[in-house]
Chain length 346, copies 4
């Protein structure tokens, strides 16, 4: 049994790790931290997780935890994750960091968008961006995984083959993304109250969302040179899920069928990518509670633009499910273990 430790277990990505790993028969959760809930049973904070009978949240103290597990998931706030990751890394432990701290290779770009100093820039080159569909081989050998952001996962996967094959004009990419409320985290804020979000829909962080540089970095790597995008995020009145609608002008006169074929070629052996047939467009309900990414596409014959629509569950493929997928790959476990659930529908 693989020994797993979760740093930060009382937020939505931490609790989602608890939910997913409850069905994983090759791992054992040996500890979970929460500063606010230290000393309290997991099942008291989350009655739905009654199976963790005696497991209690504990305070995060590196010295006390660093010898207890084989792999550490960090579901900590951006900026706080760095040091924990660095110390566990230096202790020779495998670390899967769900924060943004090691996603952006250029420390000064990180500092500019996250308004916090990066204290371990030398570790950035050790970190592997944990998107298995692109970096699977590197993930197998990685010690430190920078688990991708939710929006970036939903954006990079559909665009990747078109950029890699130089089929679209990189300067024309416009990304319109919508996320359920769990993407904002589990915190006490009036703007996240039920009555403030329900029956509302709004754009937020227009032209300044912090996932922008992460998306631009990975799209740039695929394309072979730097890319600047328009990326607008919106808050959906639902719990889970991201839908991204992406526009780009094409370099070549492709049909919708051609575009689908390009996606199918790229992802034909991927267990978690579903390319929909012509005429079908994904919705969040296809992926709710699952690790799948569904992609549909249409080429608008009137404007010659490629339109891509992708759907993921922000807490699963967009965070904790992808983290477990990375763990499975790192430890030679069946990549789909504990991740085969179909969407809870309705």
């Amino acid at each position: 049994m693989l020994k797993v430790f979760i740093c930060g277990g009382s937020g939505y990505t931490g609790s989602e790790l608890l939910r997913i790993l409850a069905l994983h028969d090759e791992v054992e959760i040996v500890g979970v931290t929460s500063e606010k809930s230290a000393g309290i049973k997991v099942s008291e904070i989350f009655p739905a997780f009654f199976i963790y009978k005696e497991l209690k949240f504990e305070s995060l103290q590196i010295e006390k935890i660093k010898s207890r597990a084989d792999v550490y998931f960090l579901a900590l706030p951006h900026g706080k994750s760095q040091q924990v990751a660095a110390e566990l890394f230096q202790a020779g432990k495998k670390v899967i960091d769900l924060s943004a701290d090691f996603r952006i290779k250029n420390a000064s770009i990180y500092e500019q968008w996250y308004k916090t100093q990066h204290l371990y820039p030398e570790l950035l080159k050790e970190a592997v961006y944990g998107l298995p569909e692109i970096y699977r081989e590197q993930i197998k050998k990685a010690t430190l995984i920078a688990n991708p952001g939710c929006y970036p996962t939903s954006v990079i996967l559909p665009l990747y083959p078109f950029l890699k094959n130089k089929l679209i004009e990189a300067s024309t990419i416009i990304i319109d993304s919508c996320s359920g409320v769990s993407g904002a985290g589990r915190k006490a804020e009036i703007s996240l109250n039920y009555c403030e979000v329900n029956e509302d829909f709004r754009a937020y962080n227009v032209a300044k969302h912090r996932h922008t540089p992460e998306i631009e970095q990975e799209l740039g790597f695929a394309f072979g040179s730097s890319i600047t995008i328009d990326f607008t995020t919106h808050l959906l009145p639902l719990n889970r899920g991201i839908l991204s609608t992406i526009y780009a002008s094409m370099n070549k006169d492709l049909s919708t069928a051609d575009a689908i074929e390009i996606l199918r070629q790229q992802y034909q052996n991927e267990p978690f990518i579903q390319i929909l047939p012509e005429g079908e467009i994904p919705g969040i309900k296809h992926v709710k509670g699952t690790n799948y990414c569904y992609i549909g596409t249409v080429v608008n014959p009137r404007t010659k633009r490629l339109i891509l629509v992708s759907a993921i569950d922000n807490l699963v493929k967009g965070a904790s499910g992808q983290a477990v997928q990375n763990m499975n790959i790192m430890f030679g476990i069946d990549e789909t273990k504990a991740l085969r659930s179909l969407a809870l529908s309705p």
Copy 2:
């Protein structure tokens, strides 16, 4: 591999069987029917269920299906299920009927509440009421299971030990239940439209819901004599889940702790029943997507009434999950197989 056939696969209980059984590694789905969608692939109607790649819906023709499987789930409308169940039963097949057709032992009571004739009253004594927590031994040997209704499951489980032990006044039972919209089935009706249900909450079928005689029958069996209840149902603006709040005057001066202890004694070895500690009351979010029934209780010291609150997912413990639990029991499979998921929360 156990061969499974689903009659009626395009409604919510049928599709829920497809969802649950996708994770069951000891069964194989050999066929699924739908009159409306006959000839169409399951994955076309339900893109979320892409794994059923080549499986197509077919029309229900007893002669063509009766030799193909070991067990048949009937997710057919009340009244239509009878004949299919009877013919499969006569062909020696195991049948798990999710309709109400074999739940009520007295055919004339069935006919009075369901406004339809019962054509196979002789089969009623063969049918076992599929509530494992009460009838597990009979289920093991059963050929025909009458899978319980969603509301009755949520009501019988909490009341059972108090009636069996004659701790409450049977004539004072009042049941106030609320269900998510999937309980109404998957059909085209303006009253079920999003805009008609969202931001609304209403009582329906007041004093005449058809689950009344089923509840009264099973409570009466537990109590040892007949019982008449008030049972009011309400429509909640959410997809899944039932919460029942139940009131009864007590015969004995019990405390809340006593009431919890009585529930714990009854259900201590049950894998799917969770009795909450004093001060905790269940919510639908504890059980969404799961086969669990959560029960909490309070004795009101001012009125001496027992108040029980239970939560289930109407499509899982209230229908398809309980049906799979029954199948597992009938075939000697681990009772919790394919049913161990924790609640999707949030």
Copy 3:
């Protein structure tokens, strides 16, 4: 123009007063307080209320406000309202208090349920309980109005004629009420976050909700002697509205038609009470955004119990709308002024 001042304008009942009074052509809002938002424009906190162009929230200082208006609405927390009400009362001002501070005539019962001392018990006899359908004549002459609670409004109105006419057994009353989330107020609490409430439904404060003594007091006044009830509250995943389902055993053999007639007799001249015909049961969508109370009733012929179902908007008839109705009555304005909107449906 009547000069109106609102103490506590940044919560949901305060902002609802701003919304309703925007359409009232005989009043002028001369000031509004908020400690958190003092100095900030109303239209900055609530962009939907752009018409209050220059109006700014100010800090509540009695000396500065007590000569500025003819009537003061207090939308302050329980316990904090007392002193403000008392000082304005002593300054000879009309006060409509939306808190619970002056609703309960017996100060020790107030103190027991609200866990706070009552500093002005001598004012309790001055306060008129602001339910116009029962106390209209007293309201006309009142200086201090104790505006009713949301749940009590939804419970007292349907039960009143049956208790007054002694048609039900007072000891058998059971009230099962469900409220939208705005009833919990506008505050930063994880338990009120969108993801915690959406797709969930739970009972809360079982057997100990603080509206219990208010309901018992007014039902007792109607009945002529004291009454003890079971009252259970539930949190609905929607913004606005309360639905109460009420059960009581009858003293007389009434039919459903009789029960409807009793309600009609009582409320035939009331502008805001709608009694539904036999076979119709109200839903929250009938009253959303309005000052109406809809009531439906069924007598269960099998149990001889009276079942009443009532629907109100908790922020309008359950709070701010009723407060404006009281103001209209106190100042001889048409009672329905600014309160005639029909339900926003869908």
Copy 4:
């Protein structure tokens, strides 16, 4: 009193006319049609509209209705509206048509997108496109109003001044719009069921929505030459509201403040347009239940694109409210009469 007749009163735009006109003190509703509900009282189909006590739905028969009113609102399906409009027009009546039948000046474009023949092409030049912010003077004198579509209203208003002043590259316009479910109408369809829409979000009619030619026509008129756009629509899990996020490359180096100033200049005297200050972006909650259009804007300094975000209530400013606004203008009534409600928030 102006006599008003509503053709098609049982859908969402028809019932919204009933809701809005209930507060209009200069009109009297003399009749309302519904084929499905002919002979039934309005208050029976819509209990929330109890004030229409004796008004019954009737079947639409031109001969019987054409002399009864001064103005006719047509809330009929596309294709069916044409003939009714034509006959009432020929009878000299004022007609406000909420369908698409007279919005598109080129009959062949109409026929191509709506797949139905236009039988009265000669009337197209008589019809005035009922967007008061652009065509107020023509509306004053019009006999036949083509009331704008919901999405077009939300798109044309923010883009208009930028196109009129040639500040953006017309070929780069991308419009990403999201609508609440009432936009799909009130009809029995499984895809509109609560469980199918709730917790889901999907794009639909990608690159082929029928509002495309209407938007292109009006944007083209503003710009002075024809325009082709990308326009993608999505279905939001909420009842009311449209949010459009619009992208275009600029011709000039404008700042966000400049863009706001251009909108303010254009709309400074408009009673129903609110331009938000820098840093504020509208949400649907600002306009729910109201006739307002809120507009916010950001210029992305990294891409030099103009990003416009607009919010309207699809049933009010996007349909019935705008229709009443047009009626007020046509008959010399205060343009804001019956349309002054602020947003129901929360």
